[in-house]
């Protein structure tokens, strides 16, 4: 025992030498602060959840990205100064893992020399990639990272190279709270939160902050859950006027189905994770009544927004389905980068960053977007109402 202790002391003494050595490790000078420049083509990286838990959402975003790139390339590419350059996509899968997302980001910016990145879909995978994006001075636009802190540093300053195309949680959550008080006149609500990511919990937090009525019940579920009967049975005997359920369509569809079957017919209000045609398919048409959700993108938008109309048509033609919100946001992410390149007349990654930060009145599929100082897009929000599985009404939020 004593010998062993002696040993440890010797080893730690040697380790100290190594640590001292570590001190002399070469301070690496990062020479790439000038950012990446395009070659013959404009390389855009995609750091996306294509396998693992969030693969469903990631694949929808990939479709939107590919649709946008095909369309741009067919039209001759992006005008950079006097020449036109085509986009070359470098798509990499981050397995819905934060560590892998960081590695993918490093590969995209260092080895593939992309000038901009779209993704990742989830906030955590996104924040894990921020250090590598910042080091290489390459901007990234996430179609769906919703945590309010995603684009901010610890001290509250903006992350220079990080942008998003979606709403942040506070805006959506508080809008839903106001809508439920003012329009639905709900005085007692139950909250049902997706407790497996920042998305559901963040929205619920923002909702609770704004909502003034009584919260009768506060329950959570996990991504991949299929049985909500126990929670719903418990809710049934509570006096509630509405349910606020921030989460994704795969679980929300089931919640709506099981709630209606259990005889709960109060309004269910959700967020843009629900804005997907699959919701009705999973819940069943006759069950999808009095369902509301906040969203930047409406499949009804095609009636007023020509950009959205052509996107919906192209999506339908290629994938034979109604375009989901995630695809629309990803589609816009590519066009936002395109707009930044054109306004700066350069596809250098630092210039694209400047262009993205100055984005103003950009006409996208998900509305007219102006980038605010915190790199959050300002665009109008719609609350859609579904009756019998179709959108029956849309309320615009100012």
């Amino acid at each position: 025992m004593i010998k062993w202790h002696k040993h440890i002391i010797k080893i730690s003494a040697l380790a100290t030498i190594v640590l001292a050595l570590a001190g002399c490790s070469t301070a690496k000078n990062n020479g790439s602060s000038q950012g990446n420049n395009p070659g013959q083509t404009i390389k855009i990286g995609v750091n996306m959840e294509l396998s693992g838990a969030a693969a469903g959402y990631g694949q929808q975003q990939k479709q939107g990205i590919q649709l946008a790139v095909n369309k741009i390339n067919q039209a001759g590419g992006i005008a950079v100064g006097k020449t036109h350059k085509k986009i070359q996509l470098v798509i990499r899968d981050n397995k819905t893992s934060n560590t892998t997302a960081a590695s993918v980001a490093a590969q995209l910016v260092n080895n593939d020399k992309v000038v901009a990145v779209v993704g990742p879909a989830a906030t955590n995978a996104g924040t894990a990639s921020i250090p590598n994006m910042t080091k290489a001075a390459v901007p990234s636009v996430s179609p769906s990272a919703t945590d309010p802190g995603y684009t901010l540093q610890k001290n509250g300053d903006v992350q220079k190279y990080i942008f998003r195309a979606c709403f942040q949680n506070n805006y959506q959550g508080s809008s839903a709270a106001k809508f439920m008080t003012n329009t639905l006149k709900a005085k007692n609500v139950a909250i049902l939160t997706d407790n497996s990511s920042d998305y559901g919990t963040g929205l619920a937090k923002a909702f609770k902050k704004t909502y003034t009525g009584k919260i009768a019940s506060n329950q959570t579920f996990q991504e991949g859950d299929k049985d909500f009967n126990a929670i719903l049975t418990a809710l049934k005997h509570k006096k509630i006027d509405a349910i606020y359920a921030p989460g994704y369509y795969s679980e929300l569809g089931l919640i709506i189905k099981q709630a209606r079957q259990a005889g709960i017919d109060v309004p269910v209000v959700g967020s843009d994770g629900m804005a997907d045609a699959k919701l009705t398919k999973i819940a069943g048409k006759s069950n999808t009544n009095k369902v509301y959700y906040t969203t930047p993108f409406s499949t009804k938008a095609g009636e007023t927004n020509p950009k959205a109309a052509s996107f919906l048509k192209a999506y339908q033609a290629k994938y034979h389905a109604t375009a989901p919100t995630f695809s629309a946001l990803a589609y816009d992410s590519i066009y936002m980068i395109k707009s930044a390149i054109e306004s700066e007349q350069s596809a250098n990654s630092v210039k694209i960053t400047t262009g993205l930060a100055k984005l103003k009145d950009f006409k996208g599929v998900t509305g007219t977007i102006t980038m605010n100082q915190n790199h959050n897009p300002e665009k109008s929000m719609v609350i859609e109402k579904m009756t019998n599985g179709t959108i029956s009404q849309a309320y615009t939020i100012k």
Partner: protein, 292 residues
Amino acid sequence: MQTIGQQLINGLSLGSIYALLALGYTMVYGIIKLINFAHGDIYMLGAFWGYYAINGLHFNFILAMLSAMVFCALVGVLIEYFAYRPLRNSPRITALITAIGVSFLLENGMTYLFSANARSFPQVIRTVTYHVAGLRISNIQLLILGTACFLMLLLELIIKRTKMGKAMRAVSVDPQAAQLVGINLNHTISFTFALGSAMAGAAGVLIGLYYNSIDPLMGMTPGIKAFVAAVIGGIGSVPGASLGGFLIGLLETGVQAVGLSAYKDAVVYFVLIVILLVLPAGIFGKKTKEKV
């Protein structure tokens, strides 16, 4: 009172699903002492088979379920033949890693071929809700409960009353001795995999119909829960697996009913640990005395 009754129904219908899955785990473990990690994914394959059988081949429900059972039995036997048989004499932990590999392969292969998106299962049977004494129960819940109980009884009969069942029990006690008395080890193990996988196939179609949502990763969580159920019941025991399944179903329902939904899984694991500490081989598990 009414709420409690309703929650009991919820718990039982959830539990019957876990029980059906736990059966497969328990049988395979009983015979070759392998935690078949891919079992939950076979259940996913069953659901997808049901989806295509109904949508593409226009099978009716019974036919879809039977064909899914046959299909999954086949897949189970193939997996055993290619991935587990070469490792029968290797350390058990090696076989476990291979099983994890098979699970990854099935999940990601299906994601690659059919996309990761959730899809809705064709509703071949219309949901009818019956109201009895203030309680509501749907025909599909009854169907699941009925099928689960029927299959469990059938399984118990096969194991206890048939020659193959006898061989299975013999192999699980001592494979070498079983071979000595003329039992074909390979056939018996293949049969066990076929039987267990068929149960998973049936569960896949039933759940597809009940929840109306299937995706390539749907087997992951229920797979682990069902395994926990099998361990609680005493892994290797068929009645134990059923009991474990119902127990977990009721437990999860109970925890959510009292408003602790965030800690649902934590409570399940806690109960698992406590049961194992009191009964180290599970509720119906055989206690083995170690000989020096």
